[in-house]
């Protein structure tokens, strides 16, 4: 046993390191990923140990990062691209959505692009504009991409390796406000012991209502469930982990028991992940529902200035308010 108490950021670093050790074709590329170790230090020490040919400081151009990753993947490499912040991914949008996502389909399976695009996402760190966004709906909506997000150091460590080992192109969303939160990781456990990449998981069992969250909102949902105990309510929390494909089987199973469902995410509400989940839960669990599926989300506005982001971001009180509304229906 080599169980370590790691921050989520450090677990990501160790996951990347393990993937690079396991497969010499794995490359890391992005802005400032070399000597600096990335602005969040997620690639800290990797260039020193694996060299400039495998940990590539790139020119400052996001479309170039993803576009050249495609060529490297065609050549047989497994590039892991770092986009420095969520709000900087848009210059790469065509390469991700029109090129990476479609190449396997267009070539009728002849071209595989095992590319992982890591994006630190979400708010809560007091940043200036373009540094706190939740762009996941754009990518979930795009056929040909898979989208995952971790909420704990344990998942950070394993999901990184699983995403890199997968031949599917994967958008890997990292909840940047959770980079410094700690958890236990057994780094000596065999890969086969890891939870599957594209599966959601019950993070806290409960009987009275179902909270669905992912990434940075899992902690908010868990905290809300703890607080709800005082009101005598036992909330179940589901960590989605995979956003494309969605794995809603545990959600359906839960809602059929609880009859109530609240979806929580930072991204704006309209046409967000919560809309899709509400639609599917309604279709699958119609006769079990005691109230409509409710959403607690960011608002349909650009991400606001940092001094008001606490009002923008779903928090414990807003989640509990939604739970109250669900019970009061």
């Amino acid at each position: 046993m080599a169980t370590e108490n790691l921050t989520l950021g450090k677990a990501l670093t160790m996951g990347l390191r393990k993937a690079m050790e396991d497969d010499p074709k794995v490359l890391i590329m992005g802005e400032d990923v070399g000597k600096l170790g990335g602005v969040f230090r997620i690639t800290d020490g990797l260039q020193k140990d694996f060299g400039e040919e495998r940990v590539i400081d790139t020119p400052l151009a996001e479309s170039g990062i993803v576009g050249t990753a495609i060529g490297l993947a065609i050549r047989g490499y497994r590039p892991v691209c770092e986009i420095q912040f969520d709000g900087f991914v848009y210059p790469a949008y065509d390469q991700i959505v029109a090129q990476v996502a479609k190449m396997h389909y267009r070539s009728q399976g002849k071209v595989r692009l095992p590319i992982v695009i890591r994006i630190p996402y979400g708010g809560g760190i007091g940043a200036v504009e373009h540094h706190s966004e939740s762009p996941e709906p754009y990518f979930i909506h795009t056929a040909g991409l898979k989208v995952v997000t971790c909420a704990s150091p344990l998942d950070a460590y394993w999901m990184t390796q699983q995403a890199i080992a997968s031949d599917d192109p994967i958008i890997f969303l990292e909840p940047k406000r959770r980079y410094w939160e700690k958890g236990d990781v057994d780094t000596s456990a065999p890969a086969s012991s890891a939870y599957p990449l594209h599966a959601s998981r019950v993070a806290r069992p409960g009987t009275d209502a179902t909270l669905v969250a992912y990434g940075p909102m899992v902690k908010v949902a868990l905290d809300a469930a703890t607080a709800a105990e005082e009101d005598g309510r036992d909330l179940e929390v589901i960590d989605l982990r995979t956003l494309s494909p969605l794995d809603l089987t545990p959600v359906y199973e839960s809602v059929r028991r609880t009859g109530r469902c609240v979806v929580v995410h930072e991204a704006p509400q309209t046409l967000g992940t919560g809309a899709e989940i509400a639609s599917r839960v309604t279709e699958e669990c119609f006769y079990s529902l005691e109230s409509p599926v409710l959403r607690v989300t960011g608002f349909d506005i650009p991400y606001p200035a940092a001094r008001v982001e606490e009002e923008y971001l779903p928090d414990l009180d807003r989640v509990l308010d939604a739970v109250d509304r669900s019970f009061g229906w």
Binding site: E53, T58, G67, I74, R75, P91, Y105, R106, Q108
Partner: protein, 387 residues
Amino acid sequence: MAKGATASRTRSTRSRAAASSEPEMVQLLTPDGKRIDSARDSYGTEYTVDFTDDEYRGLYRDMVVVRRLDAEAEALQRQGELGIWASLKGQEAAQVGSGRALRPQDMAFPTYREHGVLYCRGIDPIMPLGLFRGVDQGGWDPNEFKFQMYTIVIGAQTLHATGYAMGINKDGKVGGDDGEAVIAYFGDGATSQGDVNESFVWSSVYNAPIVFFCQNNQYAISEPIERQTRVPLYQRANGFGFRGIRVDGNDVLASYAVTRAALDQARSGEGPTLIEAYTYRMGAHTTSDDPTRYRLANELEEWQAKDPITRLGTYLREQKLVDEDFFTTVDEEAKAAAQHLRERVLTLPDPDPVSMFDHVYPHGSPEVDAQREKFTAYAASFEGSAH
């Protein structure tokens, strides 16, 4: 093809005075079919070709067949058998010259108009017609033929080509004749795209073994070259830190020589080159376009006088490399190839609708599987009905 031929290259020092008197465009065969022994670019590199008679005849045959297949595809579109067609007419020399300059190990990244290069890479010309007919997205294996998929988003493939070339460097496959190189095709309009400029930056800083082959056919749909640039396109390379050369894109010999030399420089570790093949799109942008709205008939006539096929034909005839039977035979070969193409296009089957769910992901997706299943059941519900 042309295995025995070489594009020899000799360095010479040049004075500023000499530079100003040198032609801007590398040309080895004039529009009236006169052979120029050798030509220099503005760096003083000298180009020539030393083809056998058979190789000269082969280049002529290639261009005639490619133009005839192109005409057949355009006719098929007019008859409703293709949804659209992007004609290469006028650009045969640039495509056959550069396409034949590729060595077997080189990788090409095309746009959607590189039918001539595709032909040179040995791909069945039926393949792109599946794309334009709407039965698939292009069916060839990009890695088997070293010719990637057609790319319709303008300029996107230049970054893919650059990444692939970076991979060649990482694999240690540069240096010597067995080194590998990449060629990225694009047009004059694409030079305004961010991706193309990013690919120039990346190729330069990583010294990637790549040749950027820009066919300047003077128009991006309706917009003339003046809407893309105020300097000759090949000169852009200087600002990125690599060579830029303009070649007569209607001269198959010069197109071959300059491309072969640039590829060999790339494969030996000397980095990227931008080649601007100066040419003209004789037809419309695509069959959906009407060029009479934006260009004058006399312009087309001027370029017809520089036709790439006519000039090589004149040369072959005047050098007595062929007799008149040769031209008749080539025309018949081209006609037969076109007829064969037509017959097969007409029998291309429509895909099974359920196949549209295939290959979305290498590892599949339960969501796509569920939708496929529902669609299949829905489609089956109509079977046996009057509809």
